[in-house]
C-alpha cells in the first residue's frame, strides 16, 4: 500500500522527485523544531515559575497551553519599526542571519540510526562551521541599530562567542578523537561499545564518563554560546536593556528569539549525541530509539532552565576569565591526557 502510494507520488513528480523528497525531509525537521521552540518558551516559564513558587502562564487555554501560540500571533501582527539613522538593509538582514544558521545546522543531526536529513562524513565539522556563523546576526543587529545599548550588546556577544567557541572546539576534537570519526552517527555508534556496554550497562560507556571534564566544559560553553543566563550579559536588561535586540519589534524580534531557542535545542541535541549516547538506551534490555534522544534533550534543556533560575549573572570580566583562563587550559590538558590514554595499553576506545 505504502509502496504503491510512493510510486504514484514519484511518478507524479518525475525527475523533480529528489528535490521534493528533500524538501519534505526539511519540513519534517523544521516544523517540529519550530513547534518545539514555541513550547520550550512555555516549558521555561512554567519551570522557572515553579522554582519561584509561582504558577506561571495559566490563562490562555487549559494550563496556559495555548500561551506560546498567542505570543507568536501577537508578535506576527506587530509592526516592524526601523529606527531612523539605522542601516536599513543590514538591520533587516540581521534577524535572518541569526535564524538561518540555527536551522541549517539541523541538516546533519541524526535522530535515530540512519534517520536524518543528511548523513555526511564531516558532519561535526559542518556543525562547528555553521554554528560559528551564528554570531553575525547579533553583531550586525547591534551595529545596524545605531544605538549605544545595541552596540554594547553586540560587542559583548562577539567577544563572548569567539572565546567560548575555542573550548567548545577542543571538547569536540576530544570526542572525535575517541570516536575516530567526524560523523555524528558513527560517534553515537562508538559509544555503544566498551566494557560496560558489553555488560548491558551502556550508560557507563557513553562519552560523558571517560570525558567528564570535557562534558562539563562543553555544556557550560554551550550555555555561554547561546547567551543564556548566567552568561546573558549580551542582553543584560539591568545595564543595556535588551542588548542587540533593543530596537527590534514584531517578527524581527521574534526571529532573534526563535534563533536563541533553536540554538538551545541544537546544543541540547549535540550534547545528547556526543556525550549522552544519542538514541542509545541506557540499559541493555530496553530498545534504542528516538524517544531516548528526546528524553536526553529534554533533560539538557531542563538544565539550561535550571541554571537560569539558580545562578546570578556573571560579571563580564569573570566570563572572560572562565573562558580563557579556566576552560581552555582544562580542555587542553584533558585533550593531552586522552591522547596519551589512547596510546597506552589502558586504551578503552578500541
Amino acid at each position: 500500500m505504502m509502496d504503491m502510494l510512493q510510486q504514484l507520488i514519484q511518478g507524479f513528480f518525475g525527475p523533480a522527485w529528489p528535490v521534493v523528497w528533500n524538501l519534505l525531509k526539511i519540513i519534517a525537521v523544521v516544523a517540529p523544531l519550530l513547534l518545539g521552540v514555541a513550547y520550550l518558551t512555555y516549558f521555561e516559564r512554567k519551570v522557572i515559575a515553579y522554582m519561584h513558587v509561582r504558577i506561571g502562564p495559566n490563562r490562555v487555554g487549559p494550563l496556559g497551553l495555548i500561551q506560546p501560540i498567542a505570543d507568536g500571533l501577537k508578535l506576527l501582527l506587530k509592526e516592524i519599526i526601523v529606527p531612523s539613522g539605522s542601516d536599513r538593509w543590514v538591520y533587516l538582514i540581521a534577524p535572518g542571519l541569526a535564524i538561518a544558521p540555527a536551522l541549517a545546522a539541523w541538516a546533519v543531526v541524526p535522530f535515530a540510526d540512519g534517520l536524518g536529513v543528511a548523513n555526511i562524513d564531516a558532519s561535526l565539522l559542518y556543525i562547528m562551521a555553521i554554528a560559528s556563523v551564528g554570531v553575525y546576526g547579533i553583531i550586525l543587529a547591534g551595529w545596524a541599530s545605531n544605538s549605544k545599548y545595541a552596540f554594547l550588546g553586540a560587542m559583548r556577544s562577539a567577544a563572548q562567542m569567539v572565546s567560548y567557541e575555542i573550548s567548545m572546539g577542543f571538547a569536540l576534537v576530544t570526542v572525535l578523537m575517541v570516536s575516530n570519526s567526524l560523523n555524528l552517527t558513527e560517534i553515537v555508534r562508538a559509544q555503544d561499545q566498551g566494557i560496560f556496554a558489553g555488560m548491558g550497562l551502556s550508560i557507563l560507556s557513553w562519552n560523558w564518563l571517560p570525558l567528564l571534564p570535557m562534558f562539563i566544559v562543553y555544556l557550560v560553553s554551550g550555555v555561554a554560546e547561546t547567551n543564556r543566563a548566567p552568561f546573558d550579559v549580551v542582553e543584560g536588561e539591568s545595564e543595556i536593556v535588551a542588548g542587540h535586540m533593543v530596537e527590534y519589534s514584531g517578527m524581527a524580534f521574534a526571529l532573534f528569539f526563535l534563533a536563541e531557542y533553536a540554538n538551545m535545542i541544537l546544543i541540547a541535541a549535540l550534547t545528547s549525541l556526543l556525550f549522552l549516547g544519542g538514541w542509545l538506551s541506557p540499559v541493555g534490555f530496553l530498545p534504542d530509539g528516538f524517544f531516548w534522544l528526546a528524553a536526553k534533550m529534554s533533560f539538557v534543556l531542563f538544565l539550561f532552565l535550571w541554571f537560569r533560575a539558580t545562578f546570578p549573572r556573571y560579571r563580564f570580566d569573570q566570563i572572560m576569565r572562565l573562558g580563557w583562563k579556566v576552560f581552555i587550559p582544562v580542555s587542553l590538558v584533558w585533550f593531552t591526557v586522552v591522547g596519551v590514554w589512547m596510546m597506552s595499553p589502558l586504551n578503552i576506545w578500541k
Binding site: V90, A122, L125, S132, Y136, M155, L182, Q318, R321
Partner: protein, 200 residues
C-alpha cells in the same frame, strides 16, 4: 549543461560581485560583509570540487573567527573615507602594477592548465574515502615537519602580538576571583542584636 555547472556559475557570479563590492563599497562594514559573502561563495565552489574539508574550514576559520574579529574592529573605527581617498591617484600606479602582476600570475597558472586540459582534470575521490581522514594522515606523516614548523611560526606570531601590545603590569586595583568565590557571609557582615530603643 549539468546542474553542477549552473551551481558553479551562480557561485562564481556571487563571488565576483561580492569581491568587487569589497573594494567599491563606501562603508567599511559593508565592505567587510561582502568579504564574508565572497569567502562563503569560495567555500561553496570548493565544496563543488569535492574539497569538503577546505570548504568547511574556510567557513569555520575565515567566516566564523577571522571576519568576526575583523568586523569587531571595523565597527568600532570611525573611518573617514574622504581622507582615505585623498592619496588615490598617488597610489594608483603602484596598485595597478601589483594588480597586473597578480593577473599575470593567475593567467600563467590557469593558462597552462587550460592548454593541457586533458591532464589537469580534478581528481575524483573514490567513494568511501574520507577527504578529512586522508588530509590528516598526509599532514602527520609525509608533511609532518612543515606542518609542525608552521604551527611553531604561528605560535611565535601569537607571542609576538602579545608582547607588542602588552603595556606592563596593570597598576589598577584588582581582586582575585578565587578569593571572591570563597568569601562567606560571615566575613563581610556582622549581625548585631540591638534592643529596641524607647522613644521619649
Amino acid at each position: 549543461m549539468e546542474f553542477k555547472t549552473y551551481v558553479f556559475y551562480f557561485l562564481s557570479a556571487v563571488l565576483v560581485y561580492a569581491a568587487l563590492r569589497v573594494i567599491t563599497a563606501r562603508n567599511p562594514v559593508h565592505a567587510a560583509l561582502h568579504l564574508v559573502l565572497s569567502f562563503f561563495s569560495a567555500g561553496g565552489i570548493w565544496a563543488l570540487l569535492q574539497a569538503e574539508f577546505l570548504a568547511i574550514s574556510i567557513v569555520l576559520v575565515y567566516v566564523g573567527a577571522v571576519m568576526v574579529l575583523f568586523l569587531f574592529v571595523v565597527m568600532m573605527l570611525d573611518i573617514n573615507m574622504d581622507r582615505i581617498r585623498e592619496g588615490f591617484w598617488n597610489y594608483l600606479p603602484l596598485g595597478a602594477m601589483v594588480g597586473l602582476l597578480m593577473v599575470l600570475e593567475m593567467g600563467a597558472i590557469i593558462g597552462t592548465q587550460y592548454l593541457g586540459a586533458s591532464e589537469a582534470q580534478v581528481p575524483q575521490t573514490p567513494a568511501g574515502v574520507s577527504n578529512v581522514k586522508e588530509l590528516g594522515r598526509l599532514l602527520f606523516t609525509e608533511y609532518v615537519y612543515p606542518f609542525e614548523l608552521a604551527s611553531v611560526i604561528l605560535l611565535v606570531a601569537l607571542v609576538a602580538a602579545i608582547v607588542l601590545t602588552h603595556r606592563g603590569v596593570k597598576k589598577s586595583k584588582y581582586t582575585d576571583p578565587a578569593k571572591q568565590v570563597f568569601v562567606k557571609a560571615a566575613d563581610r557582615i556582622r549581625v548585631l542584636q540591638m534592643p529596641a530603643e524607647k522613644q521619649d
